[in-house]
Symmetry: C2
Subunit: 378 residues, 2 copies
């Protein structure tokens, strides 16, 4: 049975104070829900998105067969997160370019698009905004919050900011913070965007141009880091693009290897739909997330507030958010005597694995949600 | 005793046929030599450079105390490659921007700088050009050829192209070819340069501008891949640049973390002295190198021509040219019953380690050259 998704939007008139000290006077959040909230209002699951995803988590839009949500293999009727049993909420974050209030919308102070003046938003700010949406949907306590990568950071942050409002948290392919190398890759991507002459200091909307060159480079860098060395070698290796056989063309600018063609294509696609200011904001939210910053680097103390039961999942070839980083979270939670299930999935796909159809991974998540469904609501 | 280096240049009037099918009608090579060629002409060591280095391998220039050659810790009087015993030759490759014929020089066909029309040069072409220089210096057979990274590829190629002219080869932090991930990083760097509006299709010299934005991005990407995750975390971690303490500034464009400041500085410096067309040419030479391409991917057959004795060195945290890649070379040589010494140095510094002062590494190279010095010339 095909799940039909229906994008929605909610306006929040109450100002939102941000960690930066700025405040948003009001804002919209784009969201979708799947399944039905039960009478006890105890079966809600919030799904948090990563860098370039949105509130469109599952299902397809009416009449658009190929518009599957970004986690459609995970969420839906009969799927690991079964929408016949759970009421699933997908939400687009502030600062995004997919519907929620962001840099492309009007800055009430100027009457023009926010552009680069959109305030810096953090994982904690996003969670605050999400919590209001969850309340507005009639849910006090979430059965679970879940996310991968940056989405996992939000899930973790929920358990610290709203410990009594979340019973379970699934933190997948994530980390307690970015390391120097992660920040470095984000910074190169941001510099590519910011130094693109078409960026115009982040106010390109008024110039009729888009910093596509910068976005392409940013996406190419990102894409390399999402994949593992192994999967790139298996998929592309040193294969030439030329159909002519094994002869090199001897060119510095033309595509010679398949991997080049693939990356250029990914960059081109991305630059058509993604907003440059959003890219800056979201990578910065990644950089800034660091719950242990306020406990002198002690993650155990930082996670002491958490009361949820956890599922932590990592993937063996993920070098962007390596298993070692997930184990730091596990260790800190165990030192706080929290209930944690941890799985390190042996998968060749690198960071991208959290979005893919790995049977062991999907059945593990299924089993975890089955247990939640069978628990009496607290 | 300070070694004083003296840059020199040699003109070659005989045309050079390149692997691409193009030919250079004539060319110059910049080079330096250190030490004295013995009467038997048996003590010459050729040093091949990697991406951004040059013929200035060792010593300093007269009156310029801080002008040390890029491998000055390795090569000089009393050093592992002892110029009191060896006659060492440093050579700048064709297509470079440090003196040898390259894109900034005049294209005889047009009377203007070559720019992007400089022919694509390969590792094999470089070795052919180097071989002529070695002959012109009166050396028939090299005691050794050595290089790290791309320089190691040249050393390896010497043993295949001129097996009777090289008795020993040191191939350090190198690989038998680039894998898909390596090519991918090169490609992103090239795209950053080529799509910089100041690149002008590679003919920016006539426009009074330089594609600095692209070069900066290229260098930042390169720099991340030269370092290990460990050393970046040890050196920078999540340290903030701000002297104000642990408070974030909450900015997407200002420097927030030390690692960002470091990378921007590296990018800025590089963009001041490196030529954009050279960057394209040298990364392409890296991409194209693949001696096993002509033997159906069989490296053992590809290396059958080698007659030299080998030293292969890799570094444990080098993820650009990992130890596994060096072991492929070792295996192929052993299958050909060649004499190989292999060392995998446990060093935290990533790919950069081959340029650094690791005592075990330096004494290993010293011992290897000591043995060469004590051998009777063949």
């Amino acid at each position: 049975m095909t799940l039909i998704a229906q994008p929605q939007s909610m306006h929040f008139a109450e100002p939102l104070a941000l960690r930066s000290g700025a405040r948003l006077a009001d804002y919209h959040l784009a969201y979708e829900t799947y399944g039905t909230l039960n009478a006890e209002r105890s079966n809600a699951v919030l799904v948090c998105h990563a860098l370039n995803a949105s509130h469109h988590v599952a299902g397809v839009y009416e009449g658009q067969e190929r518009s599957e949500g970004w986690w459609d293999n995970m969420i839906g009727p009969g799927k690991p997160v079964d929408t016949d049993r759970f009421f699933v909420i997908g939400v687009n974050n502030l600062g995004s370019c997919f519907g929620s209030t962001g840099p492309m919308h009007t800055n009430p102070a100027t009457g023009r698009p926010w552009g680069a003046d959109f305030p810096v938003v953090t994982v904690e700010d996003w969670v605050d905004a999400q919590a209001r949406l969850v309340s507005a949907l009639g849910v006090d306590t979430l059965a679970a919050v879940m996310g991968g990568s940056l989405g996992g950071m939000q899930a973790l942050s929920w358990t610290l900011q709203y410990p009594r409002r979340v019973r379970h948290a699934a933190v997948i392919a994530s980390a307690p913070n970015l390391n120097a190398e992660n920040i470095a890759f984000n910074e190169v991507a941001r510099r590519a965007i910011v130094t693109d002459p078409d960026f115009h200091g982040g106010h390109f909307y008024g110039h009729g141009v888009l910093p596509r060159r910068g976005l392409r480079i940013a996406r190419m860098i990102g894409h390399i880091t999402y994949l593992s060395d192994d999967v790139m070698n298996a998929k592309f290796g040193r294969e030439l693009r030329s159909a002519v056989g094994s002869d090199y063309r001897y060119s510095t600018q033309e595509v010679e290897f398949q991997i080049e063609s693939y990356l250029r294509h990914q960059g081109d696609k991305f630059s058509e739909y993604f907003d440059a200011n959003t890219y800056l904001l979201i990578t910065r939210a990644l950089d800034y997330f660091d719950p242990a910053r306020l406990t002198g680097g002690n993650l155990t103390r930082a996670l002491a507030a958490a009361a949820a039961r956890f599922l932590i999942v990592s993937f063996s070839t993920d070098w962007r958010f390596s298993p070692a980083r997930s184990r730091e979270i596990v260790k800190a939670l165990l030192e706080n005597r929290r209930e944690v299930s941890y799985a390190e999935i042996d998968a060749p796909h690198g960071h991208d694995a959290f979005l893919l159809d790995d049977p062991r991974y999907l059945s593990l998540v299924r089993a975890w949600f089955d247990r939640i469904a069978s628990e009496p609501a607290a």
